[in-house]
């Protein structure tokens, strides 16, 4: 079976599942997603011009990743699609690329509305990735992991415009059933044997925070309080 056949099979298999998944997740977590309409029909967007930036070699090492700027990572309205729709995105529809920009820089470039942990001066091992839809290059998620050398916290923060529902977050959404209010923001959270997980929606973005190697929900709450303005 050819490699490309798998993608066709997945698209056909998931064509029905996407509708069920989106409706189910939206119904269970209305406060997480902007749109409460039970619609998940994809809308054809105007194609945006794609810029591929190839980073220059650093010493003897050549960066292998294609660095793609964030296009349309806007939590609010944009002119090219209908804001009233939610979009459930499965892995076959988007690609993940490493970014040479930090989440802070991406936030600044998109108007400063995206929250981030400003640990760059006290942190290490910062890795930032962007998730782009394959057909439109629209950025649907930015992922950043960073280790705080001062506090020993290692976090992974995923931020998506709230209208996008990525498949990889469906498990987190289902498991974060406990709630707490922090600075008037509802936090849904859970812990497992290794990590703590929290979800908040702020200013039309949904944030999925993982506190790695720490199952202490109280520490998670402290970090969310730090994240919020």
């Amino acid at each position: 079976m050819k490699v490309q056949d798998f993608d066709k099979i997945i698209r056909e298999t998931n064509a029905c599942d996407n509708s069920t998944m989106a409706e189910s997740l939206i119904a269970k977590h209305p406060e997480v997603f902007d749109n409460r309409e039970d619609r998940n029909r994809r809308k054809a967007w105007t194609a945006k011009k794609r810029f591929a930036i190839f980073a220059p070699p650093v010493a003897a090492v050549c960066l292998a990743s294609i660095l793609i700027p964030c296009i349309l990572l806007t939590g609010g309205s944009d002119s090219s699609n209908n804001d009233s729709e939610n979009y459930y995105c499965y892995a076959g529809e988007y690609s993940i690329s490493f970014s040479d920009k930090t989440l802070k820089e991406i936030s600044m470039e998109t108007g400063g509305g995206i929250l981030f942990f400003d640990w760059y001066d006290v942190g290490s091992d910062c890795v930032t990735s962007i998730y782009n839809l394959n057909d439109t290059d629209v950025t649907i998620c930015v992922n950043e992991s960073i280790y705080n050398l001062e506090t020993d916290d290692y976090i992974e923060l995923n931020v998506s415009p709230s209208k996008y529902i990525l498949d990889i977050f469906s498990v987190v959404l289902d498991s974060c059933v406990d709630e707490i209010m922090i600075d008037n923001v509802k936090v849904k959270y859970s812990v497992d044997a290794t990590n703590s997980y929290g979800i908040i929606t702020y200013n039309s973005y949904t944030y999925y925070l993982t506190l790695m190697y720490n199952s202490d929900a109280q520490r998670l709450f402290s970090l969310i309080e730090e994240l919020l303005p």
């Binding site: 079976m1 050819k2 490699v3 798998f6 993608d7 997945i10 298999t13 998931n14 599942d17 069920t20 998944m21 189910s24 997740l25 090492v61 960066l63 292998a64 990743s65 499965y90 892995a91 076959g92 690609s95 993940i96 690329s97 490493f98 290490s124 091992d125 890795v127 992991s145 280790y147 050398l149 020993d152 290692y154 992974e156 995923n158 498949d167 990889i168 977050f169 469906s170 498990v171 987190v172 289902d174 498991s175 974060c176 059933v177 406990d178 859970s190 812990v191 497992d192 044997a193 290794t194 990590n195 997980y197 999925y208 993982t210 790695m212 190697y213 199952s215």
Partner: protein
Amino acid sequence: MKHKKILGILLAIFCLPLCGGWTTPTNADNESYYGGAQLISFYSNYEQISYSSKQIKTDIKTANGAPNYYPDATLPNGCGAAAGATILGFYDKYMDTIKNWSSVLPNGMYKKQDAVYVAQVMKALFDEMNTNATQPGVTENDFLTGLQNYTQSLGFSVNYDYIGNVSTLNYTSMKSAFSNNKAVVLFIKPDNLYSITNNSNTDTISTNYISANHILVAYGYYEIQYTLSSGTRTDAYLYVSPCVNLATQQYYKVTPSLVSAYIVDIK
């Protein structure tokens, strides 16, 4: 003449480990493993277990768990490369199996993959394992041979200890491997992976289904008993690095999907 024949056999037995030989089941070339992110289904159904009490019966893990690396779109059907890189990342804490990079944070815990060094290792393994050469993904032998060749090129040796399939799995050897800080590679057919999250007196078990033959890296054994209103329930899992991009800690239940398991020891 007879003595020479016996001597030859004995020499072969003792020399086989030095040559990097290992025992594989007869079906080691029958299946190919090609799992990837696009072949995961995220089910909206999940199970919530409400309990009056719970007891962890067994919790055996390697010292710091294991990393989890996953292939990007440039490595289609690349679960072999990802699993191999994950194993190298696991041992990189103790020896330089990923050159010019450390797989651990300053506190010794495994960190996420980077854009350069892990990517290079995965690409090298992808090629060394002949991924997609004759069929999608890799066979067991492709994986084992490719990882061995690459590891030897780094100046290290790798020993594989086959510990069985779903019917013959040597749990004692497997648990001992975890206790002695060794990783176990699992070759599986399509099956579920699980997330287990804890809320107030309720555990939520979520399911992700991998719809392709896939390779996992196991690093621990976990057994939990719940006291329910209807009696008790005991579940047993393996801690696994899923070698795909998943947002939560993943577990695998040993089921008929388990084709082969090997302890992987790099020195």
